[in-house]
Symmetry: C2
Subunit: 379 residues, 2 copies
């Protein structure tokens, strides 16, 4: 089975968002603004929520940021994760201000006394802690033996988790993100074998553009395909909305969750007799506001088009210089003028959506393959 | 080991490009223009070659296209693959015109007689055939039993391969691309267990934008991580150069091959006190013409930056509103004005390149991890 069934993990909750157990793989992102303009921060969270982000992290580097955090937490449409380093009082403050989850590195909060206070506070508030290890926060004695490796990350994380467990923390999420895919995958595979706590997946500092997106997709995708991972955050040097779009694309690629249509479209070649890339661009744009998990195809030629896009709910394929065919479920429905292809396709999409919204069902033959898509649609 | 060692396959050659055996995973793309303007086709191939494409496919839908193919083949900087359907005379013509490889669906060339002629011709010319199965070209009796599945694709491909072997073809490459990742991965895993012939990987009709790139990265990346795959083509509804960029990004993400620098950069957050995304964009642009496999980092804050980007050859990290630090190999070198960050970084990159080009070596401590990067650099 691809992906393999999810590895069972303990269920924890960040506000109303369940993480682990049998819950859907939760999508996270992070606000990318200085923590000075509370309204701007809230606006970015609202934009992320609209895109399907389910949990949003905010850095809380100082007490001024903590005030912004508190103001935003009262108004946020999403549960907030407070990211705190070095000063345990900021962690305590964020909990009082409404943090639904705390992301800390237990080794840098100021020693055992402060860590004990934070542990007591999260237990009281019923808030989970994410232990987030990266190459900058390995336990020095572990790094000395295991180097900067996946093994060192997993061992460092497990030691920090054990400290928290000893202090009575009973809701933990773990991450171990490196910027290299092999090291990251190695770390998470080890964690998945070592702990029942849910895992937060990511490739850190993946960078900008195509390479950043590809590293994230390969690293996170590989782990999800093995049944590892309960929540994901794609870390890109790009707007936060791009991270959320990428997260859903990764989940959709493995048919774990789908938000919106799947656009199947051919790369075009010397057989294609019209401007396929422009048509694909137009269809992509016109589908972008739709949330139903339809499969829509745009193919260059009618010879292979309907056959290759057999599972598409609806599609168009070029058929000579001026004509196209409209097809559904791998069968040609009728011939249409090429110039009207986008309009005809969208009209068919609208008809299908009208049917869908009446029944809330996209056909039993696909439910088994897209359980999360179906789930999304029912929300 | 991630990725696991490559599965051994037979070595075949498309012109000067070896596929399979111990050869590097070859990067392919396809011309996306009508086969009418030979000069435009040649120009696109030249652009792809500059980007690192190693093998380029052209559709040959008719005899006019065959003439263009012949003209281009005489001048092409890359070995060409002729993509032929339905008419075996086009396949024979493409071989005479200089095709370095033939991509066919043996089931649609017009029966046994024509297939026998094509088999004789490729054997004479010493040219490999790629058997390319997709959902539009399943063997009907196999589809009837196994449905539109990875199993049906693998079985269809193997039947076609056996036909060619019976006809004496001794150089075969196999592909089985679906537009869904799970089906594609299933098909290739079955092929890898069934045949010693090299495999050409791809997710077909992956579509445009982020979803297309992600599907390709997850599908191809997952297989490469398992040691499966000898050559790859990323099929995107996007310019062909984007396909080549994506192919190298996938190979680099698994440290199989690298072309140019790796840019490690943080996603920015509320702790960052400067416009990180603009700086990353500028550095990305200025690195784009460099081919050495340097690791360059751009980090938001100095606290975690150098530690997390420990393996970077050189990097910068923000250090307050007006300052940054320059670091190398995880250690801070010196403090610099933030406004000069990009210039200082690129000056350091230039110094490293000058050293690199003198020795042709990027340091023994990384050779074991980036054998292909090293290989690229020596070319």
């Amino acid at each position: 089975m691809i992906p393999v069934p999810r590895k069972p993990t303990r269920l924890v909750s960040a506000g109303r968002v369940p993480i682990g157990g049998a819950s859907p793989i939760a999508v996270q992102s992070m606000v990318k603004l200085p923590m000075t303009d509370a309204r701007a921060v809230l606006a970015q969270i609202e934009e992320l929520a609209q895109q399907g982000c389910e949990l949003c992290r905010l850095a809380v580097p100082d007490h001024a940021a903590l005030e912004v955090f508190g103001w935003v937490a009262k108004r946020s449409p999403l549960p907030l994760v407070a990211d705190v380093h070095f000063d345990y009082r900021l962690a305590l403050g964020a909990l009082r201000a409404g943090a639904a989850k705390l992301r800390v590195n237990p080794g840098n909060l100021g020693g055992d006394g402060p860590l004990r206070e934070v542990a007591r506070a999260v237990a009281t508030e019923g808030v989970p802690i994410r232990v987030g290890v990266n190459m900058g926060s390995l336990e020095p004695d572990i790094a000395a033996v295991y180097g900067y490796s996946g093994e060192a990350m997993a061992l460092s994380a497990m030691r920090q988790v054990e400290r928290l467990e000893e202090l009575g923390v009973d809701a933990i999420v773990i991450s171990a993100k490196a910027h290299g895919v092999p090291v990251t995958v190695d770390a998470y595979r080890r964690l998945a074998r070592s702990t029942p706590w849910p895992l937060h997946l990511g490739v850190t500092e993946a960078g900008p553009g195509t390479p950043g997106l590809v590293k994230s997709a390969v690293g996170i995708g590989l782990l999800l395909a093995e049944g590892i991972g309960d929540t994901i955050r794609v870390s890109l040097s790009a707007p936060a909305r791009t991270e959320v779009e990428a997260a859903y694309a990764i989940l959709a690629s493995l048919e774990l969750r789908r938000r919106g249509p799947e656009l199947v479209s051919c790369p075009t070649c010397g057989r294609c007799q019209f401007d396929l890339l422009s048509l694909v661009g137009e269809v992509e744009q016109r589908l972008s506001s739709i949330r139903e998990p339809l499969v829509v195809a745009v193919m260059g030629c009618a010879v292979n088009g309907p056959g290759e896009a057999r599972r598409a709910d609806v599609g168009i394929a070029g058929a000579g210089p001026d004509r196209a065919v409209l097809f559904a479920q791998g069968k040609v429905v009728r011939s249409i003028p090429a110039a009207a292809a986008a309009d005809e396709l969208m009209a068919e999409v609208a008809r299908i959506r009208a049917g869908l919204s009446g029944t809330g069902d996209c056909g039993p033959e696909r439910d088994d393959e897209r359980p999360e898509g179906h789930h999304e649609q029912q929300q």
